[in-house]
């Protein structure tokens, strides 16, 4: 007998694996390809065991040929298969931008609706321990920029499984942006198959003082910041957009209308990024009459350095988020959380999807 749904804690990487496994169980046209998915490490556990269960025809590694392999996945998808193509770092997608932007995103339209590309791209953002310039980029805005692509960003194990299963069912190219530092986090994850809807944001924490939108791992950082803020009497409403494109702007708009203040914390650079999009939509909104106080945080406008002393300053963290949010919400600059409190915040495990 299976454990009741809500009582099973599962790690993010296990949830990714389980989502794919159940999708493959349900539909024999689903297969998985990607460098190193069939080795003993199995993409940090997220593909482990799949080759044993489904065999090397449905789960196989590839040569180091990201460009052509993406084309191959696209072609297979056009011909009726449902590939999941796994990349261990998002940075490497730069090698297959042409296939993704010029073919995958455009085929359905360009070919007058006669062709579909039900392709799932799994890709991970790296961080810390010297990942550095080429193993750390969150490049979702480049993909969200292009009509025809969908981009989703699970911040917890529940969404990791549910979005994976939904992505496989979707008839369009869907990019799943994962985060290395989320891989070990746990959430209550149902055992049975389920999907998480695209275009539906999640309010993780309600509050009246300001709205914080976090992306991917920054959802966690924002939640931790919210705890620090709560001790100062500031109640932040924390929103996880869940899917970057399509974006559920209504939920954000309603929150900003309530709080009048918005902080977007992206897991990426700001310039021409997803954070700009959210802020721009708020600015354009005819439903928001007063000028809200808005602010964006994300990667520093630099390349990502490897040394911890610089890397620490490169990323937002609960402390800097809390400070920024406090100023935005209170108009004051008279509080900085103590370092040990921030450390404590890091020990909180959020058992998403909250």
């Amino acid at each position: 007998m299976s454990t009741p749904n809500t009582s099973r804690l599962l790690k993010y990487f296990d949830a990714l694996r389980e989502g794919a496994e159940q999708a493959m169980d349900a539909d024999s046209s689903v297969f998985m390809m990607g460098l190193d998915i069939d080795d003993h490490k199995g993409i940090q556990g997220s593909t482990k065991g799949l080759v044993d269960k489904f065999g090397p025809e449905r789960v196989f590694t590839t040569p180091l040929s990201e460009d052509a392999m993406t084309g191959v996945a696209i072609g297979a998808a056009m011909a009726g298969q449902r590939p999941i193509h796994v990349h261990i770092r998002m940075d490497f997608l730069m090698l297959c931008m042409n296939q993704l932007v010029n073919i995958a995103a455009k085929s359905h339209y360009m070919y007058g609706g006669t062709v579909q590309v039900p392709l799932v791209i799994r890709t991970m953002i790296g961080k810390s321990w010297g990942q550095g310039a080429q193993h750390s980029q969150g490049l979702h805005s480049m993909f969200a920029h292009v009509p025809g692509m969908k981009v989703v960003a699970p911040s917890n194990a529940y969404d990791a499984k549910g979005l994976t299963m939904q992505a496989v069912r979707d008839n369009n190219p869907v990019l799943i942006m994962e985060h290395r530092l989320l891989y070990g986090t746990e959430a209550y994850v149902p055992e049975e198959p389920y999907t998480v809807e695209f275009g539906k944001a999640r309010v993780l924490r309600e509050g009246n003082d300001l709205t914080i939108v976090g992306v991917s791992n920054m959802v966690m950082e924002a939640m931790r910041a919210a705890e620090l803020l709560a001790e100062q009497g500031i109640e932040a409403e924390v929103i996880d957009p869940v899917t970057i494109s399509p974006l559920d702007f209504d939920t954000i708009e309603a929150s900003v209308n309530k709080t009048g203040k918005l902080l977007v914390v992206d897991n990426a650079w700001l310039n021409c990024g997803f954070s700009a999009e959210i802020v721009a939509r708020v600015a354009e909104s005819e439903n928001i009459s007063l000028k809200p106080a808005v602010k964006r945080m994300g990667f520093a406008p630099t390349t990502c350095p490897t040394t911890p002393s610089l890397e620490d300053a490169f990323y937002p963290n609960p402390k800097t988020i809390a400070i920024t949010a406090y100023q935005l919400a209170s108009g004051k600059q008279d509080w900085v959380p103590a370092d040990d409190q921030c450390q404590l915040a890091y020990q909180t495990q959020f058992k998403g999807p909250f």
């Binding site: 449905r58 609706g113 006669t114």
Partner: protein
């Protein structure tokens, strides 16, 4: 489907349809009714005809922006193609594709791409799907010499050979990429030898010998249907017209008329035509003229898509 008395007649019919359709396109073009960059395959049609003659409806063929020949040979509808060039709603992609992105999924015509080389791995992906679906269909991917310089060409051949996929790669080597001759792009004229190092059959045809190509490919594709894995052919050929557009351009100085004349003297459309029974040839020609005329009328009379349709088909 029309029955022909000989292979020659069948191939001639295939070649003549493309030749005449493109000649008509070239005639219409100055009227500005076709607002689409046309890359004519005139002079090269015999390759697609010879190869695709061996394909069934459930097989796939992929081509490039120079794809009228592949599209028609694989059974793409002439009316839909002509309407597509005119940007009409009745086009094979409802006017979204133009000449460069022809498609006819129902006939196994893989959508064509205007970014050179990108169609190659997509074709390989179709071969992977065939293998996974345990079909005994095959894929033929047509490409230009220039496309073999793109990294994805090597990547694609390696993967197809590694997984023994049922795909034939056909390089139409017209020794030009736009106006750039081979010697400015290739370190050595050894493409076929290079592909052979992947352990797959690789054959070069220096002459426009349509029957030799036809015979060779027949064997190769038979083998492929019984899991022999991929194969490769390189056909030297000649592009008669400018890279893009409706005219000849031997006067532009980047290539010699002499070279052109040597190839034209061997025009398969003419030589094959001459070998046919005269009556049969006349009938073929007449049918072709009629179908082209009908296609032009179909295209002219079809409506343009309405502006609101812009938003259709962004997502499936």
């Amino acid at each position: 489907m029309t029955e022909y008395s000989t292979v020659e007649a069948r191939l001639y019919a295939s070649i003549a349809l493309v030749r005449r359709a493109e000649e008509v396109i070239s005639e219409i073009y100055p009227s500005d009714k076709i607002k689409s960059p046309v890359h004519l395959a005139i002079g090269q049609e015999y390759i697609a005809a010879a190869v695709i003659d061996h394909l069934r409806g459930s097989d796939y063929a992929s081509g490039t922006y120079r794809g009228h020949g592949v599209y028609l040979a694989k059974g793409g509808d002439l009316n839909s193609m002509m309407a597509e060039l005119y940007g009409k709603k009745t086009g094979c992609a409802q006017g979204r594709a133009g000449s460069m992105h022809l498609v006819e999924a129902g006939k196994g015509v893989i959508g064509m791409s205007a970014v050179v080389g990108t169609g190659i791995p997509v074709a390989v992906g179709h071969a992977l799907a065939i293998k996974q679906q345990r079909r005994n269909d095959v894929v033929v991917a047509f490409m230009g010499d220039g496309s073999t310089e793109e990294g994805c060409f090597s990547e694609s051949i390696n993967f197809a050979a590694l997984h023994k996929l049922p795909i034939l790669f056909v390089v139409e080597n017209n020794r030009l990429a736009i106006h750039e001759p081979l010697h400015k792009r290739w370190a050595a004229d050894t493409l076929t030898e290079r592909v052979a190092t992947y352990g797959i059959p690789a054959t070069r045809f220096l002459e426009p010998d349509v029957l030799a190509i036809h015979e060779h490919v027949g064997k190769v594709i038979d083998d492929m249907r019984t899991e022999a894995g991929p194969a490769f052919i390189e056909c030297h050929t000649h592009r008669w017209y400018e890279h893009v557009g409706p005219c000849e351009d031997y006067d532009q100085g980047y290539r010699s008329l002499e070279e052109g004349e040597q190839w034209r003297a061997k025009d398969v459309y003419v030589t094959l035509g001459q070998s046919l029974d005269e009556k049969e040839k006349a009938q073929i020609d007449q049918d072709i003229e009629a179908s082209i005329q009908a296609a032009v009328e179909f295209a002219e009379q079809s409506p343009f898509p309405a502006a609101e349709e812009l938003y259709n088909y962004v997502y499936a």
